[in-house]
Amino acid sequence: MKILGALASGLLFGLGLAISGMVDPAVVLGFLDFGGLADGTWNPALAGVMGGAIPVAFVLYRLAGSRVPAPSRAMDARLIGGSALFGLGWGAAGLCPGPALEGWVSNPRALLFVAAMLAGFAVVPWLAGRAGGARS
């Protein structure tokens, strides 16, 4: 049952990324490029996505009640530094994890990005483990 729910969620998420154009880095970069406001090439799709997704998720999270993890106020250098590195990569290629893990089916070159991203995922706990080992 949970596996079916996860599959249906992935399909619905993928459909949303495709309809909104978010699966295409050109559309994402078209939003991030505010210089495009001057020459009329700015693409507001990503603003539409956030405006559509957050209220719907907010209402459904209310339905789910206590199962939703409580929000956290904790801020640290890891959160902000990590987000800055993520923004650097996102702005450079126009790809974030969801569209990359979806778009390869249309443009297989996205798998280059996916492979590097998976390596990036793996290296963080490995480095943390080494740092922890060095301390003890």
């Binding site: 949970k2 729910g5 996860a6 599959l7 992935g10 399909l11 619905l12 998420f13 459909l15 949303g16 990324l17 495709a18 699966v23 295409d24 880095p25 559309v27 505010f34 210089g35 693409n43 507001p44 799709a45 539409g48 996505v49 957050i54 209220p55 719907v56 998720a57 907010f58 459904l60 999270y61 339905l63 789910a64 199962r67 929000p71 106020r73 904790a74 959160l79 902000i80 990590g82 987000s83 800055a84 590195l85 993520f86 923004g87 990569g89 290629a93 790809l95 974030c96 994890p97 969801g98 979806e102 443009n107 996205a110 280059l112 990005f113 991203m117 998976l118 390596a119 995922f121 706990p125």
Partner: protein, 138 residues
């Protein structure tokens, strides 16, 4: 421009529904970087859920291609090196920050998390800056 915004709104509503459905069926936050990161390292007992979700994503593209009867374009940068460098940055960055556009940007903001708001403001600002530098540097 209005057309792109409305398609974004419609797609966004589906994404919000997907995030809600994932929580209601599995009790989990639909953070894609976190789900995909569990493919690396030792696989947890919920590996089949992760795989089902991650196979659903390209399934959604194929579904939209079938419904719309049109190709779904994915324009990537020409440089493979840039793709690899960007992938590494996104992988390391989202793991350090414990989330990406889905986990912090959609799920986190929907549960009114100050931590996710800080993360989202940071990656948005940096990405806008990168694109601006590239535009003005030519």
């Amino acid at each position: 421009m209005l057309h792109a915004f409305l398609l974004g709104l419609a797609g966004g509503a589906l994404i919000g529904a997907a995030v809600g459905l994932f929580m209601l069926t599995t009790g989990r936050v639909a953070g894609i970087s976190g789900i995909a990161a569990e493919l690396t390292g030792r696989w947890p007992p919920r590996w089949a859920q992760n795989l089902a979700f991650l196979l659903g994503l390209p399934g959604g593209l194929l579904l939209w291609r079938a419904i719309s009867g049109a190709e779904v374009p994915v324009h990537l940068p020409g440089s493979g090196l840039l793709l690899i460098a960007a992938g590494l940055l996104v992988g390391v960055g989202t793991r350090l920050a414990n989330g990406c556009t889905s986990g912090h940007g959609v799920c986190g903001l929907a549960r009114l998390s100050p931590r996710s708001l800080a993360a989202t403001a940071t990656f948005m600002a940096v990405a806008v800056l990168v694109v601006a530098v590239r535009r003005f540097a030519g």
